[in-house]
């Protein structure tokens, strides 16, 4: 079965977690990647992180005793989901460009 589309938030969270980040770091990183367009809100991020851990697409790392902030990182299955999604998005972009003549 082909994979269903990821939400924009999930796509950017997975993309950000190629290196370990805590919640606030993810918000900042997603903001920078999208040039300020995507502003993840705390509640939405919290729900998404919990679902992603449950799915096994990201791991929660043991809490850093100094900062007491929980960090997350992408897993191998998360990375493969992200790559599949990238292929799906490329198809959309390619078709869009082809049929709209790049305008």
């Amino acid at each position: 079965m082909p994979q269903l589309a990821l939400t924009e938030a999930v796509f950017y969270i997975l993309l950000s977690l190629q290196k370990p980040l805590h919640g606030y770091g993810i918000i900042q990183n997603v903001g920078e990647l999208s040039h300020g367009r995507v502003k993840l809100a705390a509640g939405t991020l919290y729900g998404a992180l919990n679902s992603l851990v449950e799915k096994g697409w990201i791991d929660a790392l043991p809490e850093n005793p100094e900062s007491r902030k929980k960090e997350y990182v992408i897993t191998a299955s998360g990375l493969s989901v992200l790559k599949e999604e990238l292929a799906r998005l490329s198809e959309l972009v390619d078709n869009g460009k082809r049929l709209l003549g790049g305008n």
Binding site: A9, V38, K39, A41, T44, Y46, G47
Partner: protein
Amino acid sequence: MRRVVHKLFFIWQLEKEQAWVNEMASHGYSLEHAGRLTFEFDETEPGKYIYKEIFLKGWGEGAENIKYFKFLEEMGIKVVCYINYPGTCWVYLRALKEDYPDGIELYSDIDSKITYQKVMAWYMLLVIVLTLAAGSLNLWISLYSRNYVFPLNFICAVFLLSLCAGAVVAEINNLVKLSRLKKERKLHE
């Protein structure tokens, strides 16, 4: 110096209460504790904090909510206090205005807004059912007891049924919002 204000807000006046708490903060009074009828403020720099009030499933001291509160604190959002109600809690959050100049927004996509609106809708339904049942019972007792000297049950019935009517109005608002969000979700995330 601490200033205690007594004020009554009903359960469907969440937005009104939040606006009032924020107005107090803009005048230099930061909310430090809230009870069902009392609000305690400390004098602070005007406009330093911004407040947000939310409903959550379960009590404030529940394990899931404690985890969520800790996560919010990492985001610079502090839990000032919460009030437990059956199966839910009403939470007062605050953050520095310089960190959240546009206000504290907890949900940035339609799905999480829908989930939140559903919690509100279910809770309001519970309020409607309970106030309607208790109000009708009191009305029934007052009609049959024919106590005209001290019509306590009648007063209770009027109070409960007015609460129920208010909750119905709030529930209609909730359902309208929910249906608008669901319609939007068919096109956008």
